[in-house]
């Protein structure tokens, strides 16, 4: 009798255990930036595919505005209810890495690294570990309105080849048509690196190296744009959005931005899109180009870091990135995806040309985000001193000296 009861109990317990296993579902909360509703079909397809290949895992996808994601993420982490997989720019990722708020993904699987371009993978490195899966990247191209070029007496067949060309073309466009030639989006530390001016003199990134005449010349080049009335202070402060809005309304000759913005132009301003041509972005002395990368990270407060890393690897892997690149003009950070014929055999539409150019430029690409400690403070110091310079409060020399001085102070802490 005892045996029968024991047998029934064992059966009951194992049955209960099995029922529990069937019901056990790991829920992975996945946050992206500004991707809904445009890419709903793509993400729903990818999520469905992942869930069918990984039974027991449920992906909950949420999309947040760029301006809100950082604050929401911090609040959720402080409250212990953070998402598991989060899309962040490299600039947003760095302070979180410094605060030890992210999972070191190379500790989960050291082989993840083999999938991605080394230069982009390393942007997520800090003190010997890597904390971010690289996702899509883009290198800037020049889009220009050939009608405006013609009206300004410029040959649309001959796009600018150097930054000085861009300046001269802009001057001519402004003189002849009264509208802006271009609106730069200036990250002065990127400009320094593009011009071959190193930010640090040591590998540990403790010694500042950019307090040079060359750096002063770079700052002065931009100040001259204002002094010579090629652009206004309001243009500089407007940034990307201002430039894209003006380009789409036919009030800007050249737009320097990532090729993914072409789809926005195509949808919102089809007539401008028809008039758009695309050219390579002139390279500076260092012959490097900034590859603005998006990352996917796993907060340390994730309750399922293993599953989260697996999904993050899937969404940033060769297959998913290639599929994503086919619907929006971005480049994959995954090596095999980037080798696909799709990137070399584009059609002759502005989007096709932009894709080819952007892919060609990948060879010079480098994520120029500052990786030193207190990166956000370093960036703020540069921005503030440059701002003082373009308001005429200080000279280019003083601006560079102040930038270097403030960096030394921040780095010494």
């Amino acid at each position: 009798m005892k045996l029968i009861i024991s047998f029934i109990l064992i059966l009951a317990i194992s049955g209960w255990g099995m029922a529990n296993r069937v019901e056990a579902v790991s829920e992975i909360e996945f946050w992206t930036i500004n991707l809904q509703p445009t890419f709903n079909d793509y993400f729903n397809r990818m999520i469905e595919q992942y869930e069918s290949e990984n039974t027991g895992v449920k992906i909950v996808w949420k999309d947040l505005p760029f301006a809100a994601i950082q604050q929401k993420l911090l609040s959720s982490m402080a409250g212990g209810v953070s998402p598991d997989v989060v899309n962040l720019s490299t600039e947003m990722t760095r302070p979180l890495i410094e605060k030890k708020a992210l999972v070191a993904i190379d500790q989960i699987n050291p082989n993840f690294a083999d999938t991605y371009f080394a230069g982009i993978w390393q942007a997520g490195e800090y003190h010997g570990h890597v904390y971010a899966f690289p996702w899509y990247v883009s290198t800037k191209v020049i889009m220009y309105n050939q009608e405006i070029f013609a009206a300004a007496g410029l040959d649309p067949e001959k796009p600018p080849k150097t930054m000085d060309d861009i300046k001269e073309f802009s001057r001519q466009i402004k003189d002849k048509t009264g509208i802006n030639g271009f609106i730069p989006h200036i990250r002065m530390y990127n400009e320094f690196v593009s011009h071959g001016i190193p930010l640090f003199s040591d590998e540990e990134q403790r010694e500042v190296a950019f307090n040079t005449k060359e750096a002063v010349a770079v700052v002065q080049w931009y100040l001259d744009l204002i002094n010579e009335e090629i652009i206004t202070i309001e243009d500089i402060r407007g940034g990307y959005n201002e430039a894209i809005q003006r380009y789409m309304s036919g009030n800007l000759g050249m737009l320097i931005t990532g090729p993914q913005f072409l789809s926005r132009i195509k949808t919102n301003a089809p007539a401008i899109y028809e008039n758009t041509r695309v050219a390579h972005l002139p390279l500076g002395k260092a012959r490097v180009i900034n590859a603005a990368a998006m990352n996917v990270v796993i907060p340390k407060t994730s309750k399922n870091p293993q599953e989260a890393a697996d999904f993050a690897y899937f969404i940033t892997g060769d297959y998913a990135q290639l599929e994503f690149s086919k619907i929006v003009n971005i480049l994959p950070s995954a090596i095999k995806a980037a080798q696909d014929d799709f990137f070399t055999a584009g059609d002759n539409t502005p989007e096709g040309i932009a894709r080819r150019i952007s892919a060609e430029q990948l060879q010079w690409a480098r994520d120029m985000t500052i990786t030193a400690k207190n990166s956000s403070k370093l960036i703020k110091a540069i921005d503030e001193e440059f701002e003082k310079a373009y308001y005429g409060k200080i000279t280019a020399e003083e601006a560079v000296a102040n930038m270097a001085g403030r960096w030394e102070e921040i780095l010494s802490k």
């Binding site: 605060k99 030890k100 309001e234 703020k380 308001y391």
Partner: protein
């Protein structure tokens, strides 16, 4: 029996109060008290906190940027007299019996119920160098070059203050309107019969009787001015060259950009102190509230 009824009424009163009290405790008092304590810690948002005593407060006293932001917040108080004066005038105007008066009341109140984000974005467009104001002024020849309302370090703060004033006007107008409608009509009539002119009736009868409303509105608008955030965040981001950086924006940046939550809590506590001081000053100057009100 009577005692029982009385006790029941007291219990009922507390039962009705409890839900609101719980809500206040959880969502108001607890965060305020926890925030005050956080000011004494170095906190990294992952739950790790270290007690550092008064270090955050000491740092705040030598933080030049914080005091610059605080100075701008105090400058923002300039909105208060203008908004009060204009809303009293508006209230007096719409209080008159006239055809379609309710349309004006509605029109003045619409900005109050409009989201600050929408208002700030709209005004940002309006105030741009190629925005509607500059375009009109340059086209009619009143301006040779557009005014950099939001990109001039000298003008940016005042331009945003104007938007705050524009949006808040209707809110205070409604409070004053309620105050005006409570002013006994007989008093004004008697004053007129005694030969008082319209401005004398306003100055010696209407305005003094509005004193409780003036106190309420001044305190509310002063507190709002010192804590201003949304319009600054959207329209200028504190720039250019920190010329419109106000205390709450600096506190936000300290917490969510520099990840210094303990220090931000200390700064928040100091801002709350300043708001408290200004509120006490308001009560001192405009005090007595409804003491002069005829019974």
């Amino acid at each position: 029996m009577v005692k029982n009824i009385k006790a029941n009424r007291v219990i009922m009163a507390y039962l009705f109060l409890i839900p609101a009290l719980v809500f206040l405790l959880v969502f108001r008092f607890y965060p305020i008290i926890a925030g005050m304590f956080l000011g004494f810690f170095s906190y990294d948002f992952l739950g790790n906190s270290t007690y550092i005593g008064l270090a955050n407060f000491q740092e705040a006293f030598t933080d030049r940027k914080f005091w610059l932001a605080m100075q701008h917040s105090v400058t923002y108080l300039l909105v208060v007299p203008f908004i009060q004066l204009l809303s009293i005038l508006l209230a007096i105007m719409v209080n008159r019996k006239m055809r379609g008066g309710h349309i004006f009341r509605l029109a003045y109140y619409i900005p109050v119920v409009t989201s600050m984000v929408a208002v700030a974005i709209t005004w940002k467009w309006v105030l741009k160098s190629n925005g509607i104001i500059n375009s009109i002024l340059t086209n009619v020849g009143l301006l040779a070059t557009p005014i950099a309302f939001l990109t001039s370090p000298e003008l940016a703060l005042y331009s945003v203050m104007f938007v705050t004033l524009w949006k808040g006007l209707g809110f205070y107008m409604v409070i004053y309107l309620a105050g005006l409608q409570a002013v006994p009509a007989g008093l004004e009539e008697v004053a007129r019969l005694d030969g008082a002119k319209t401005w004398q009736v306003w100055l010696y009868i209407t305005i003094p009787l509005l004193r409780p409303s003036i106190l309420l509105c001044t305190v509310l608008s002063a507190m709002s001015a010192l804590k201003v955030f949304d319009e600054i965040f959207i329209m200028t981001g504190g720039g250019p060259i920190n010329s419109s950086l106000v205390a709450s924006l600096y506190i936000y940046q300290t917490a969510f950009k520099d990840y210094r939550f303990g220090y931000a809590a200390a700064l928040g506590f100091m801002l709350a102190l300043v708001v408290g001081i200004f509120t006490i000053i308001n009560f001192k100057f405009l005090g007595k509230g409804g003491a002069n009100r005829p019974q």
